[in-house]
Homo-oligomer: 284 residues x 4
Amino acid sequence: MKNSAVLLISCPDRKGIVATISDFVFNHNGNILHADEHADEGSNLFLMRVEFDPTEFDIELADFPRHFTPIAEEFKMQWRLARSNYRPKMIILVSKYDHCLIDLLYRHQSGELACDIPLIVSNHPDNQAVAEFYRIPYAVLTVAKDNKQASEKRLQSLIDEHNPDFIVLARYMQILSGEVCKRVEGRMINIHHSFLPSFKGAKPYQQAHARGVKLVGATAHYVTPDLDEGPIIEQDVIRVNHALSPERLAEAGRDVEAQVLARAVTWHAEHRVLLNGDRTVVFH
Amino acid sequence: MKNSAVLLISCPDRKGIVATISDFVFNHNGNILHADEHADEGSNLFLMRVEFDPTEFDIELADFPRHFTPIAEEFKMQWRLARSNYRPKMIILVSKYDHCLIDLLYRHQSGELACDIPLIVSNHPDNQAVAEFYRIPYAVLTVAKDNKQASEKRLQSLIDEHNPDFIVLARYMQILSGEVCKRVEGRMINIHHSFLPSFKGAKPYQQAHARGVKLVGATAHYVTPDLDEGPIIEQDVIRVNHALSPERLAEAGRDVEAQVLARAVTWHAEHRVLLNGDRTVVFH
Amino acid sequence: MKNSAVLLISCPDRKGIVATISDFVFNHNGNILHADEHADEGSNLFLMRVEFDPTEFDIELADFPRHFTPIAEEFKMQWRLARSNYRPKMIILVSKYDHCLIDLLYRHQSGELACDIPLIVSNHPDNQAVAEFYRIPYAVLTVAKDNKQASEKRLQSLIDEHNPDFIVLARYMQILSGEVCKRVEGRMINIHHSFLPSFKGAKPYQQAHARGVKLVGATAHYVTPDLDEGPIIEQDVIRVNHALSPERLAEAGRDVEAQVLARAVTWHAEHRVLLNGDRTVVFH
Amino acid sequence: MKNSAVLLISCPDRKGIVATISDFVFNHNGNILHADEHADEGSNLFLMRVEFDPTEFDIELADFPRHFTPIAEEFKMQWRLARSNYRPKMIILVSKYDHCLIDLLYRHQSGELACDIPLIVSNHPDNQAVAEFYRIPYAVLTVAKDNKQASEKRLQSLIDEHNPDFIVLARYMQILSGEVCKRVEGRMINIHHSFLPSFKGAKPYQQAHARGVKLVGATAHYVTPDLDEGPIIEQDVIRVNHALSPERLAEAGRDVEAQVLARAVTWHAEHRVLLNGDRTVVFH
């Protein structure tokens, strides 16, 4: 893989940001490979992604913060630097449905998804075998009805132990407390089914069937305390028809869920997604 | 155009329906060109569309009901016969937005949409010119806030006068009374924007923008007294991104609205859509 | 799974086919669940798929041919009967690329793809592990440059031994002789990349990149002696852009290949695909 | 519309381009609204689009070249500056098929497509009426078989007279000479049908039907002397099935042609498309 570094920035919009950033990279002998920006008119926020070749960069990347902080402070930037030779760590949470898990593990193994997976956590033992096949540690964390707090505490300590860069809910059917969601804000990705119109409550594919929808979809989003309502990263749909039973609708839905989640996770892992309030900006 | 007749049937499911229908057509020397069926497990309803060549049919089509009624009664069928040499009559209702109207008029003139348009009704004069260009009569029916009943009465008398086979709401922004909706059930098609998730209330594209959706969609459906909730005929979406302003989202939405409505209207005009409770069956 | 039988028919078009078939099913006390037909104007061929519930059918299905043959002969039909309680046998051939293989094995295991897989054959040992994980026998059949005939003979004897209902080339990179292709005509499915425009020769994704295509696609088709030109079962595309390297284009292509092949194989296994000369008719 | 200026640049890649450009804009008191770039590894070409707010820019835009030329020369740039308050001029060429023409005229009138249309040129009088409806001058330029050179000369003088920024072949069925194509390279956009696989020669929809394609597509591209092979701007497809006649395939194809051409023209008019050898880079 190409040696590169990605600088992600968001700050209040004003003149001179691009010039300042590109001067900084150039003056330290970096070569900009890609740069993308978005100035949001509504929020007056400026978002930028700069990918540069640091081969001849005259600052050690470990030393980058010290040199960059004065600029960041002047422009009131939120920023982070990601290096291509660092593989982000991703923990996957999963329940029984395995379609998203298997898809992610396959993309990880094939090299498409450049990250490390130190751990899979599940409230069921069902997916142990496939985890073993791909040689990923698998922790079963039983969630008892009368003991949600204890299991969430154990989950939190597993997360703390492995210190992942981000967490993926690959069809994890347990509701996380607002406290956990808050701690991983912008770093936890969830996938859920989506329909036109949307259906609340249980058995969504039964509802979609009863309503005769012609499309079945999925949405990948960052988790916020308001579970299915966080900033959307990616969405897609698949065409269905009247001949499909609710089970077949659900199968079609699983296909689109796996694809949408894979794209969202890949873009996040490649540092292409920036938060813009309740929205995301995805730089392709 | 090929000479053909389309028989549409729905009835409680039981053995022998297909055999009875196809025998009837065959015994009277008709040739089945297409036949599609759907047996709905949930509702136990059987739905069928039979298109046949009546060239050598030994019953006058005007006389068809008399011969077919005994079968229909035995099987408790709801049915209708449509003949290809009869062009259905469609009335279009429109307000100011013209994208769906213009798309339908173009498809009508090009021969793609095989129906007659005796009248366009609008609560605004804005689309008079394009109606004239396509030589379609255009009635302006001002809707006053304090006089909704009177204008709806006039609308109803215009409909009665022209006796259309179906009515299309091509972005008609007035709410019709439950009574009108009831009278045209299964014969009035509406188009509205659709999102994942769906948004209630005003300025939907502003809401969609604020929520950062990655898809913008549209749904064509039959009108029921519950305005935006009738049986869905067709849906589609278009991909959008963070760089689009609410206005640009709305432009993308208009494109997909026009396409979705055109497909729904064409399928209805070709007698491809059957009602199955709150759903539709569309035979392609 | 629901008890059902599927009767697939193709014959010269003439009056009375639907009536004859549906009478036959009805008179023997079968209940038609779905029936689809297509009368091809160009070729004058009539194609039909009838799915019926044989629970009360008064002919043993094993005895079906004896009762149906007189009808088949009268109408010069090609036909076959498939029973839902018989799981078709599918052999998969694969080389090194594993994306299609893994996708099919997952759908098989999840129950989505209702067939048995007695054997995977490969010219490489690479995919042995995943075959073992899914407990499917895996035969390595090395193809030597100077000994193509011998390996094809061994392949043929493996096929003869397992007598599959159909064979899937899940990215099998060896060219099969015209003789083999001929023997499995209509029963061997291949997947290959497709572009607008199409590219001949080696390194197609390099060519697609050089040409700046905006879509990357795949086609699943029946194998004929003219390798990449058999009757098309399914096609799809995925959107790409200028920022993607040839490797990334190929990754996008693999996604669409796996999806398209899975759909084609599922439809074939459900007896939804009929040959119509150089084309297919797919009844959904 | 927002006051903005777009600077388009392509030059050999090297360090410091982004810094130099953004410094230039900043030092003259411009505010960068959007900036997109692409460094092409294969060709070593760097392409950039910078949109900035020139409200407080201290150089008159008319005077921009004088100030920017030293930079352009140093980096060996090809460049152009477009101003949002200048509406580009587009000439449309059309034959009999009117679907693309009508779509473009509608988008122009609705304000979606921000350009002026000084002239429509056609080798047939058929589309005169719609041109008049939209109040666009329409020149009939009969192309006689024995006099192609004379009509092309007249076409060239019409182009010279109106001096358009770009020309759109909206289903113009005459082949232009290599000389004309050469003169408008990068400024003339064509639309043609596209299939998987592609078909050469006449009656493409008949061929697509005979081959049983499941997708019908379209490609918009810049015209080069090699007529249907210029740099691709946009492509899309629409799903079709076996039940569609060649005429219906062609109708589906017309829909996708109009959409694809509209997107390509809009992007070109918004200065979003850059040539990269035989490819395009489209900045969204």
